[in-house]
Amino acid sequence: MGSIITAIKKVRAQVWSQGASALFLNAYFFRLRSICIPALNCHSCPAAVFACPIGVLVNFAGLRIFPFVAIGILGLVGIVAGRLVCGWLCPFGLLQDGLHKIPSKKLTPPPRLGYVKYLVLIALVGMVPFFFPKSPLTFCRVCPAATLESSIPWRIMGVSSGVLSAFVIRVAILVGVLLLVVAVSRGFCRLLCPLGAIFALFNRVSLFRIRLTKEDCNDCGLCARDCPVEIHPVTQMNSAECIRCLKCTSRRHLKLGMK
């Protein structure tokens, strides 16, 4: 009973944290767009405060400049916390968690598909903008978060420079991703998110990570049932797929720590 209450408290804390982050990142009344914040939040959103790190990487690849600031911020956050940002701060993660609660058939993607996000990172964030800066295939132009937070609001406000067909394609991609996350828990984070791919590289070594107390584990598998990305927190502890939502730490054998 105690562990269930702890789990509920943790889920609430996570939702509050994600909600507060979504509001703060889109506070509208002030602008700090020369700084990128380590979360997938489109800087073209009418209310956005900070720059999106992926947007900055795409733009800098197009300009052929090394992005010292973006790499510095992402690297620092990654080496300290790994994918904690995915679990606790990303507004698009909050949306995915909400949508996945819609009753429907739930699917488990094969683990190999997790590598697609690295391809997205290399191709759509790195190579395409570097070699073809004007290509409609750079990540920002297909990013579902950008469509939701920027393209649609601006289109509704009647202020948009984009071509209608491009807008329709963006919306179709967004709808596809939303359908995916209804069926697959955190589907975008697991399969497609380039920011998740960057933080995933740090998950195994980051300062804060999940720790196991072997004596307290009786192999019941309950912690695996809690996991939104369907990994086994004991056997795949600190795997690149772990989004550090900390739901598994409501079981007493797993804790977040620095050791």
Partner: protein
């Protein structure tokens, strides 16, 4: 096991130093020559968000004035999506 953790800690310290150094280097040293003078990386980030900075034919940076598509004069403080 202890040895592995020591290596990990070394990696963390090295990583933190490296990424802090990148940020510091950007703040103190990185400047981009554009027509309006030298600009910091932070300024270039802000320009790039609205596609207001481009590379000219000679490879130098050119800050372009706001185009109709950049929504100049829409009376909003927000800068819309250039796409």
């Amino acid at each position: 096991m202890k040895d592995k953790n020591a290596r990990r800690h070394l990696l963390i310290v090295g990583g933190i130093l490296l990424f802090c150094a990148l940020l510091l280097f950007s703040v103190l040293k990185v400047r981009f020559p554009v027509a309006a003078g030298e600009k910091s990386e932070f300024a270039v980030i802000e320009y790039s968000l609205t596609d207001s900075i481009k590379r000219g034919r000679d490879g130098k940076f050119v800050v372009t004035p706001a185009q109709p598509g950049d929504f100049a004069g829409t009376g909003t403080t927000a800068k819309p999506c250039p796409t």
